[in-house]
Symmetry: C2
Subunit: 226 residues, 2 copies
């Protein structure tokens, strides 16, 4: 099943890029290289010049694929949301009980991404690390409204909607399904970041997966009552 998943090609809004990076060898090197480089030096220090050196190409060539590094970050995060939604659909298929389905969904949304041995150019573990540390920078900008209009955040919204629908199945009168789901997704990222860098803001012990347990607990209690 994981192999099957790895071959699925995730769709990304085609106004995010100038030229589809999936369409060429150089394009795939740009994606693979940017995941490595952003993960290692951080988004602020990352430049197209450095990426060019890393992948033995040039700044100008990379600019033919992406207008700027912000668009590249949008691409990576969009790709991730698409991939996550695909995984979610797969992992919650054939579960009759909506409560169990919700539990499984929370696990998918909050669990640590492990190496999936898929051997594509996209390193999921590093990409997840980028999502944790950089993804909010993709929408915390002055261009968010224009980019939202163009549909750049559609994948994220779709994912949130999908899990919200399970919540409404369990409790059709629950007032805040979207808030709950987006709180869980963003919260899990923050908690993983805090566990690594600011441990006094969390109670998570490295190794143990208390983050998933915590959010399952929060969601089920919130949905059941009220």
């Amino acid at each position: 099943m994981l192999e099957l998943l790895s071959r699925v090609n995730v769709q990304v809004n085609d106004n995010i890029y100038l030229k589809n990076p999936e369409s060429s060898e150089l394009g795939r090197k740009i994606i693979a290289g940017s995941i490595d480089l952003i993960d290692s030096i951080g988004f602020e220090c990352f430049t197209f010049r450095k990426l060019g050196q890393e992948i033995n190409s040039t700044e100008a060539s990379i600019y033919r694929y992406f207008e700027n590094k912000h668009k590249l970050l949008l691409y990576l995060t969009s790709w991730y949301w698409g991939w996550l939604e695909y995984r979610l659909v797969f992992q919650t298929a054939n579960i009759g009980s909506p409560v169990e389905r919700l539990e499984k969904a929370i696990t998918t949304l909050t669990e640590q991404v492990e190496d999936d041995n898929s051997f594509t150019h996209i390193n999921k573990v590093k990409l997840y690390h980028i999502l944790i540390a950089e993804s909010s920078k993709a929408y915390l900008t002055k261009s968010v409204d224009a980019e939202n209009q163009e549909g750049f955040f559609a994948g994220y919204k779709k994912l949130v909607d999908r899990v919200s629908a399970i919540i409404l199945e369990i409790n059709p009168t629950y007032k805040y399904p979207h808030m709950l789901v987006s709180t869980v997704i963003e919260g899990a990222h923050h908690q993983r970041y805090f566990a690594e860098h600011l441990p006094r803001l969390t109670d998570s012990i490295e190794g143990e997966d208390s983050i998933t347990e915590f959010y399952k607990n929060v969601v089920l209690n919130a949905v059941k009552t009220q």
Copy 2:
């Protein structure tokens, strides 16, 4: 009481700045001006050159107060956590019931900051707006560990600890008080941002304060059960 609060001077770790901006007229203009400017053009577009023009001073003069714009953002966020903690202490004083105290605390942490008529150089409404859109950029950097060592995030941690203590008063066996509190603080910022820019990720209606209601509900249910 609000007047009293406005006169309190909030303490900020003095390694964040080169020269205390509270110590001079120019320093206060730097703070006031940066709040206006970051709120209006966003942290990415904000530069010390533009700030100099805004306050009729120069780039070089501002550099005598802050090493770089990142340190200035750290200053603003630290100041805000200090101010919020002060408000929290004030507003939860003399409430006997810990459940009521927790409810009041969640309100303080999540409610929209309104104009407090304090007439200081710090515009609280704009500062809150900056916290919502920019505060996570203060710690989502490669320098986070070094800066954490220096105590730059102490104010945030202290605030989280203080509310966690109330939770433990209610339920001494609750395993995740810090996670719960940091989830609420960060979550409330995200939800306010989403309500304005990405409404499909939230269920918040402008005007109504569903965000505070939502988090109160989540916290009380999580703390009571388990």
